[in-house]
Symmetry: C2
Subunit: 227 residues, 2 copies
């Protein structure tokens, strides 16, 4: 199934139908199609037993869609506003949660290094809820991205960066998140203009990458709204 991915379940497929994604085929049980209508192309009615056979879930929920992975351009100039950039992000659940964070806070773009987890795997699709269909998710060469947008400040997140509570935070930004175990890779360090950290009051060595992303993005948005 090269270039395709699966969207599973009633609600995710309904969210998909509202998006611009190109749907290859929707497999659903009859009662589901009746509630959705059959105006969409390539709808196939299946029995619950058949759905179970093609689903990755143990208990599939009414519908499953085969969807084209969107093609994104590999040149991004004139980026503005807040952007999340994931360097070698590894965990599929984190990727989904981060895409959901972007959608919640109205962030248009999430960039992923080409070494990051495949966001079209079932775990990420599930963790992202419908947000995968609303946020622009782009795999690209991050060095090229930063080189093409040198006027945008790259804020790198570090365990011991300057406190996000007191740092200057701009309204046009790349918020760079590193790998879960190893942080931001050596080759991207020269691009970091400002090192940010979440103040620690305890003994944990780190926070979960998606949690840290949420806290940093929320603080950016708080500052912007209090301007």
């Amino acid at each position: 199934m090269y270039g395709k991915f699966l969207v599973e379940g009633d609600k995710p497929v309904r969210e998909l139908l509202k998006s611009n994604f190109t749907i290859d085929t929707i497999y659903s049980i009859n009662t589901w199609q009746m509630t959705v209508g059959n105006s969409k192309p390539n709808q196939v009615i299946v029995t619950e037993e058949q759905l179970k056979k093609i689903s990755t879930h143990e208990n599939p929920n009414q519908a499953l869609a085969v969807v084209d992975i969107p093609v994104t351009h590999n040149s991004f100039k004139n980026i503005t506003s807040l952007n999340i950039v994931c360097d070698n992000l590894n965990d599929p659940g984190n990727a989904g949660s981060i895409i959901r964070i972007a959608d919640w806070f109205g962030i248009e773009n999430v960039f992923f290094s080409e070494t990051s987890v495949d966001i079209y795997n079932p775990k990420t699709v599930s963790a992202a809820k419908g947000s995968l269909f609303r946020v622009k998710c782009i795999y690209t060469d991050l060095k090229k991205l930063f080189n093409e947008n040198q006027s945008i400040i790259v804020y790198g997140t570090f365990m011991e960066g300057e406190s996000i509570f007191t740092s200057n935070l701009g309204e046009n930004a790349f918020i760079l998140i590193g790998n879960e175990a190893n942080g931001i890779s050596d080759e991207l360090l020269p691009f970091v203009n400002q090192k940010l950290g979440i103040p620690s009051f305890g003994k944990a060595e780190s926070l979960n990458a998606a949690v840290a992303t949420g806290i940093v993005v929320s603080e950016f948005k708080r500052r912007l709204t209090s301007l």
Copy 2:
């Protein structure tokens, strides 16, 4: 293995050794024990092959400990400071991330309703990193907890609560997190003194529960440190 749980891997077991948890047995390969010393009771040397057989991991990492689940009292009076309270939390990864958040922000207690996920399952232990050994995690009747501590404000997190950016936030608080799908349960709603929400700027229906917890706790700490 009633009343026991597993801690797996080099680093987690080292963190465990620094805690007050009661260790039943540590199974490790010889080279691991040599670096740690054999002053601890009940150390059993095993081969990598044997470790693989008793581990829940596909590639176990040098050591595995069988640990007593700590017994906690069921009466909590005179609670102060910030506390996280999880109502019917369902996802083991979220539970681990939330315990890590507590450890990062120096929050002593995380309370769980008795209907919440078992935090001593391998996924939560893994997601919590060493934080499970440092944060006091307590299963209890949340209604009783709130009744016994009526002077502490219960801040409930809701999709459409009052913005955390502008709400009054106290320094003694129960930060109440609801179930991933259903939010705070009906029976706890009467205990909520103040409804908090994370401002939304996009279209996501919700945030991941651990991400939301991190954002809310971070904002509480930011306010306290800027007093």
